[in-house]
Symmetry: C2
Subunit: 414 residues, 2 copies
């Protein structure tokens, strides 16, 4: 069976808003074995909605519609679906009573126009929506001699998602052939999408029954594996087998085999070893600290650090000697090393990280161009300092530098 998702709302046709509900629904439908053939976005105009619904009914088996179920004049989904199917609508007294009770419980007066949320399509099953006022509707009907499933769901994601999971999913499972699935997510750092694909394509193409998707965010790669089978154990076996082979191939860059972020992995290994960490950041300006502290519980391993934008603060907070800065320049292997070693001593942590570089767009020279970054990790016994030349804009260079720093720490911990 195939499907179409229709997102309704004029705000979704502006340059500023995007339909995101369809991503969630796509994931859930895929798990159930339903492919998504089309997505359509239409504004709050009855004529347009009728056109969108009719078009979908002509080309797919399952139509999932989000939005346009509220109480305002612009909420026209119910009327449009009725017109497209040429069926009637009845106002349901139980829903009206529920709407008044809901308003009373919130000490609000319900205006008359709210009653339109009680309009139910002939033959539809009402999908109760405890998180909002407008209920969803489920219609199992016939259009042009073909069976069609039509779902009307509210637009707010906080209402739509649980309503789909609790009420649409079980109904779909009852209708569709039984299917089980398994998923795995692998992650790798400091490798590009095409480089990763060139290495793993010869492997994953041997697994035609596992859907492999590579997603890249700058220098971070996520590999999603998905397999559907009649039995869960079969699907899991295939996904795990492919995951194992990919892990082996990407051994030098892979940091997660269960979808964790690089920050989580670093903090996990630090915690396991009872180790602590501090950072002295120049060009990343606090990004490494911010990323580590975005993880709840990071205070067990991350003690703190310094953002040392000025030369004076490199000395004040990380004990870098002014003579060293004078001799080699603030952006140098020597200063990165001194930052890592200095911040480690000042913060009395197991590891110290130092970063200095030129994030641009200004400040580059021929000798020290924009994108040149030195990253250093010290544990007191051994200090490793790497020189990198990242390309791209300020945001990209800063992210690459922070990612490289976290990855260096991870490698030291492994």
């Amino acid at each position: 069976m195939n499907s179409e998702i229709i997102a309704i709302g004029s705000e979704l046709l502006t340059p500023w808003r995007q339909d995101t509900n369809s991503l969630y629904i796509t994931e859930k439908l895929t798990e159930l074995g339903v492919s998504v053939a089309f997505k359509t976005i239409a504004g709050d105009r009855r004529k347009h909605l009728v056109s969108a619904v009719r078009t979908a009914l002509q080309r797919v088996d399952i139509v999932v519609i989000t939005g346009g179920l509220g109480p305002t004049e612009d909420d026209l989904t119910r009327e449009a679906v009725a017109e497209a199917l040429n069926i009637g609508i009845k106002r349901d007294p139980d829903i009206i009573a529920h709407l008044y009770a809901r308003a009373a419980a919130r000490r609000m007066t319900m205006t008359r126009n709210n009653e339109k949320q009680a309009d139910v399509l002939d033959g539809a099953t009402i999908l109760a929506n405890p998180r909002g006022s407008a209920p969803g509707q489920w219609l199992d009907t016939v259009y042009g001699d073909h069976r069609k499933l039509i779902m009307l769901l509210p637009g707010p994601p906080g209402e739509m998602k649980p309503l789909f999971d609790e009420q649409c999913r079980p109904r779909l499972e009852g209708i569709l052939p039984k299917r089980a699935f398994a998923r795995r997510t692998l992650k790798a750092a400091m490798i590009g999408e095409s480089a990763a694909d060139a290495r793993i394509a010869p492997i994953y193409t041997q697994y035609q029954d596992v859907e492999t998707t590579i997603l890249a965010h700058m220098c971070d790669i996520q590999i999603d594996l998905f397999c559907a089978k009649p039995f869960a154990s079969l699907a899991q076996t295939r996904v795990d087998e492919l995951a194992e082979r990919l892990e082996e191939e990407l051994d030098d860059v892979l940091y997660s085999s269960q979808g964790e972020s690089l920050e989580q992995i670093v903090l996990y290994y630090l915690g396991m070893r009872g180790a602590t960490i501090s950072v002295a950041e120049s060009c990343t300006g606090g990004l490494v600290a911010e990323r580590l502290t975005s993880i709840s519980g990071s205070s067990r391993s991350f003690m703190g650090g310094a953002v040392v934008y000025s030369d004076q603060l490199k000395t004040e907070f990380a004990g870098v000697s002014p003579a060293l800065i004078e001799r080699h320049g603030a952006v140098s292997r020597e200063v990165a090393t001194a930052l890592a070693e200095g911040i480690r001593l000042r913060c009395e942590t197991t590891f110290g990280v130092g970063i200095t570089g030129i994030a641009g767009p200004g400040g580059g020279t021929e000798e020290k161009p924009v994108g040149l970054v030195y990253i250093s990790v010290s544990d007191g016994e051994y200090t490793e300092t790497v020189e990198k030349r990242f390309s791209g804009d300020r945001e990209r260079i800063r992210f690459f530098a922070s990612h490289q720093a976290l990855d260096l720490v991870r490698r030291r911990l492994m």
Copy 2:
């Protein structure tokens, strides 16, 4: 005239990827006075593409298609449009020559399948694409007795955007009635979307000719004003008049009347006054430093600071006395004040900022719940410390705290 944007590519029907080209095209079409009535996303299946194109031709005047112009078997846009319009395709020898020359210049051998990128629809104008291999196509034709404009554009945004601007836009301007427009963006901090709307709706609803859009990101509000008129000066006058009235109404929360970010505004005023700033962050973990240093040129005013997650580092880096922490707790008005005053002295800056709080989800108590944050700004003469109770998850609480800190600095500078 109205339009439909069709994004083509099976990857756009997965849970992980989204069409974003349409946001750019929507903005440009709106400026030209063309409304976007529908957006459709279809996968790389010829039958589906023909259905999508035919549906669009039946309901709108202008059809903009992105993607599916590449050299692979999955690239079927040209064939699908030809089938939908029932017209022929010819392979263009000039484009073939260009493709071979392009490959040679890059020292690549061009495989035969690449030649399909030279297929041109009967009657179409070729839109040269210097940034990629597949050219775009422009078709001014008739379908069912109505004039239709059809644009075939490449999928990569780096190729699509300049191609639209350089080749489609001038052609559309030649066909559509003359129109000029003006835009303005206002921004306000620490106010919610509905609170802002309640205050400004009575004003902007008086300007029916100006399109007003409110966008909220957590506690940051962006108000976009857009007006189209036959003359630019007319549009500008209306937008400026409304902007002035909105600025007056939101005087207490507005920080930008030209779309600048809060970070940019803070750095701008610091620069104007020749002032410098440093930060001592506990619960925000470097987020304020990271936000300030994300702006190029921030090193003129931002000297650096400390991320003081542990109590020990609050003392070490910001000189907060252990007795004070002992007496009031690390999350307290007194410690926030001491952090601001201490970091200012240590960094020898005009202003010092101190932040301490409980970002959660763990660590809260009845007396000091998750979301409690103290934020302090000191200039040596006067230290202002505020207590806030933010709701939401860790990310939200940290963002609110960083935004409040930047806004406090801005208010001090005004």
